[in-house]
């Protein structure tokens, strides 16, 4: 026989189930989906950090998939992420284009690259932060996967980790015929 003193426990169990589902769903919300996914990547022509006086455009990388990594020397999480980018660069898995975001002075970025290594194929400079707005960047670091057709396939808000690389990036690079070509 059901006794009324069991009722609170019953209600609580129901609540716990709802919270459980809530927690399960929350990762989707964390890796905020970008409105750019499935759309052509914004085109930019920006100062080239490594070749002063020259410009760099992402149009020249079309035909192969690439990563666009948004970073800045002021960003602590970027420092945490850096070794992972170095590993990816060593594997030569895919070119990594850097978008140096809101660094006030080139020398800061050069010091950083000298000290920790340079994983980037090329680095575009976005001092005023305008280009980042086109990409919908909310906080550094962020990494976008752009396929060979120039279509944005994935957006990662936060640091790249081996798990995320294996789970989210690799399948999209290898599995997608337009990307792997």
């Amino acid at each position: 026989m059901m006794n009324r003193f069991l009722l609170p426990l019953g209600v609580f169990i129901l609540l716990a189930v709802v919270l459980y589902v809530g927690v399960q769903n929350s990762p989707d919300r964390e890796h905020l989906r970008s409105v750019l996914i499935g759309k052509p990547a914004p085109q930019f022509t920006l100062p080239d950090l490594m070749n002063p006086g020259q410009t760099l455009s992402n149009a020249q990388f079309k035909g192969k998939p690439y990563l666009l990594n948004v970073w800045g020397t002021w960003c602590v999480t970027c420092r945490v992420e850096h070794p992972m980018l170095m590993q990816l660069a060593q594997k030569q898995a895919v070119p990594i284009i850097g978008l140096n975001w809101k660094d006030e002075d080139e020398s800061l970025a050069h010091e950083w690259l000298q000290e920790f290594g340079n994983p980037y194929t090329a680095i575009a400079q976005d001092k005023p932060g305008r280009e980042a707005i086109n990409w919908g960047v909310t906080a550094a670091p962020e990494t976008f996967l752009v396929d060979a057709e120039g279509i944005v396939q994935y957006r990662l808000a936060g640091a790249m980790t081996p798990e995320i690389w294996e789970k989210e990036f690799l399948p999209r690079i290898q599995g997608n015929p337009t990307v792997s070509r």
Binding site: F5, L9, L19
Partner: protein, 655 residues
């Protein structure tokens, strides 16, 4: 070295919390008095370790040790010293440590308090607190270690979130957590009573001051948060029904119900199982708040960074602690019988209505806060906003307020209102007349509920004050519990007056204005004198100068600011706020529209300050009531023994 010391102290604290829980629960259960005697030393040792850990984290912040990830993420060399200390609880890891520290403070206070109680009961209370502390320490060490190193160290840190660089917000989390965590004491008392299988009026007397004190802190914490939101967020409101605000409001509502239900259990030995359930509920809602804020299951302006791993962990211990307590309740509560009855118009009845209405109010907030989550679990998306809460919340609150003046005049046990009915009706008539006078005489216009709000508030004030004034006139003693109650009830009335005025008579205007121009709102005129650049320790920005006149008479100058914090590149609004005759004049500087124009938000909010003053008065009332001598003398061993012997074990004693 310092961070490692802190980390090590946390591990030792975890072990000591485990011992405290084990000896506290197993000692009394197996009748081993030496185990029981080991509980207090474990409490003391654990507290020393937690203090050490907190001191290490504070030291890392003060010394700006950017080799600690948490420091590098939440401080910067330009951050002023006071905010380096406040930055300790500026994000998830450190605020969790603060939570644990405050639990330690409460536990030590309880350990001192229970020396006057039966030894085994005290050990059980401390044992339950040990379980909670163990769970939080394990959570901190497993998922949220604030001492994690960053290698190589950062040259400078990311800085504290500019939103948190504010005096009120530096104080808001400690106050709020003191309240949240304080409900763990009532929870532990309830669990200990259920473990003993015995609960009597003396139990309620032991529990009351702790609960009232926790409630006072929670009131203050919520008020500080609301005040901060008013002037810092630049939205110009005092309450937004945001999920995180609601998470702190639900335990407050349930705690308010608990305070009243405890009064009945204390005075009359009634509502026993209901009081136990409320004690569990109040703390469970505190835990739920912690869960919602830290798990990322709910999106909100001030939620911590989402982390599903952490969410799973908190959910796990939430289920164990609350589920365990409710299972204990299902097992033991049927044994508690209340002997005495009461009449329909007795004070017991009114307190029962109070409890029902407060729980309905809690359910309204709970439903609105969790509906999006429930909808998502079934595959829909749903957002519940202010209109829902504004429409639903008054439904239980208006009868609650209207019954208050009658309830405090009602006698215990017997329901004879007849001789008081006349007086109550007379006071009501006076209140209605006053209310009409205010509405017609001062403001000259009104919403439907405006006169109702004022009338109820005046009625509460008159009905609350009559008896205390009468006692003072007859030179009778006035116990602190009665003074505290009266202060809190009058504070509630002041609160209602504040809300009624703000909701009925707020004027606002968003407008573009340039230097030299004047804009008007109601009887007020605002002249935009000039705008200048300025620089602070870790931000720069602009400051506007406005002179305000009321019917042509200059009354004050406002200097709203718009700051850009360098490191996080976040812009912040510091509203210019002044008051004139109780009206709050709010001016926030918006965006530079170009061509010398700025967007500006103007608001005149009559008596909005009453909302916060009332909350502080409520906390004060709680403090006065909790310090009543009656609670202290009840803890003398002889008295406690006598009373409990006289009251006898309950009919259904099983333990």
């Amino acid at each position: 070295m310092v961070p490692e010391l802190g980390h090590f102290a946390l591990i030792l604290a975890l072990l000591l919390a485990g011992l405290q829980a084990f000896f506290g629960i197993a000692g009394p259960a197996l009748g081993r008095d030496r185990w029981v005697a080991a509980v207090t030393p474990a409490v003391a040792g654990q507290f020393v370790m937690i203090c050490t850990a907190l001191a290490c984290l504070v030291a890392s912040f003060v010394n700006l040790d950017f080799s600690v990830l948490y420091v590098a993420s939440n401080a910067n060399s330009a951050l002023p010293l006071i905010y380096r200390v406040a930055a300790v609880w500026g994000a998830h890891e450190g605020s969790l440590l603060l939570w644990i520290f405050l639990l330690g403070v409460w536990t030590v206070a309880v350990a001192i308090g229970v020396t006057r109680l039966p030894k085994r009961f005290g050990a059980r209370v401390l044992g339950v607190l040990g379980i909670i502390s163990f769970a939080f320490l394990l959570f901190a060490l497993a998922t949220s270690n604030p001492f994690e190193r960053l290698f190589p160290a950062a040259p400078d840190g990311r800085d504290l979130n500019p939103l948190l660089q504010d005096p009120a917000l530096a104080l808001h989390p400690p106050m709020l957590y003191t309240g949240y965590v304080g409900f763990s004491v009532a929870f532990a008392f309830a669990c200990a009573a259920m473990l003993e299988g015995k609960m009597d009026q003396v139990w309620a007397r032991w529990t009351r001051p702790w609960t009232t004190a926790a409630w006072g802190f929670l009131s203050m914490g919520i008020a500080l948060g609301s005040w901060w939101a008013y002037y810092e967020l630049g939205w110009g409101g005092y309450w937004f029904w945001d999920a995180v605000e609601n998470a702190s409001f639900m335990p407050w509502l349930a705690g308010t119900a608990l305070i009243h239900s405890l009064a009945v259990t204390d005075k009359r030995g009634l509502f026993k199982s209901w009081t136990l359930l409320l004690a569990i509920l109040a703390f469970s809602l505190s835990l739920l708040g912690t869960f919602l804020v830290r798990s990322g299951s709910i999106t909100s302006v001030h939620a911590f960074a989402a982390d599903p791993g952490r969410g799973m962990f908190i959910l796990g211990f939430f289920v164990i602690i609350v589920g365990g307590a409710l299972a204990l309740y299902a097992w033991r509560a049927p044994l508690l019988k209340s002997q005495a009855g009461f009449d329909v118009l007795s004070r017991e009845s009114f307190l029962l209505f109070n409890n029902i209405l407060l729980i309905v109010a809690t359910a309204v907030v709970f439903g609105g806060t969790l509906a999006p989550l429930i909808a998502e679990a079934t595959g829909y998306t749903l957002s519940v906003g202010t209109p829902y809460f504004n429409a639903m919340f008054p439904i239980p609150m208006i009868p609650l307020l209207a019954l208050l003046p009658i309830g405090i005049q009602a006698a215990w046990k017997r329901g004879h209102l007849s001789e008081k009915k006349k007086r109550l009706l007379m006071w009501l008539a006076i209140s209605v007349a006053l209310s009409v006078a205010v509405v017609v005489g001062i403001f000259g216009r009104s919403l439907v509920l405006t006169p109702v709000g004022y009338a109820v508030a005046f009625w509460i004030i008159i009905s609350s004050l009559v008896d205390p004034i009468d006692r003072i006139r007859r030179r009778l003693s006035l116990p602190r519990s009665v003074i505290g109650m009266t202060v809190a009830h009058i504070a509630l009335a002041i609160f209602v007056i504040g809300i009624t005025s703000v909701e009925s008579y707020t004027q606002e205007r968003d407008i573009a204005v340039g230097p030299g121009e004047t804009v008007t709102l109601g009887n007020y005129a605002f002249r935009f004198d000039k705008i200048e650049n300025m620089e602070g320790p870790n931000y720069d920005g602009v400051r506007g100068h406005f002179s305000v006149t009321h019917e042509g008479k200059p009354i004050l100058n406002l200097t709203p600011e718009k700051r850009l914090y360098w490191v996080q590149r976040q812009s912040m609004t510091e509203a210019g706020i002044g008051s004139y005759w109780g009206s709050n004049i709010f001016l926030a500087l918006g965006d530079d529209l170009g061509a010398g124009k700025w967007s500006v938000r103007l608001q005149i909010r009559p008596l909005v300050n009453y909302v916060w003053i009332a909350a502080f008065l409520m906390a004060l009332g709680g403090g006065i009531a909790a310090s009543d001598r009656r609670y202290r003398t009840a803890r003398q061993p002889a008295t406690a023994g006598e009373v409990s012997a006289a009251g006898g074990p309950l009919p259904g004693k099983a333990g």
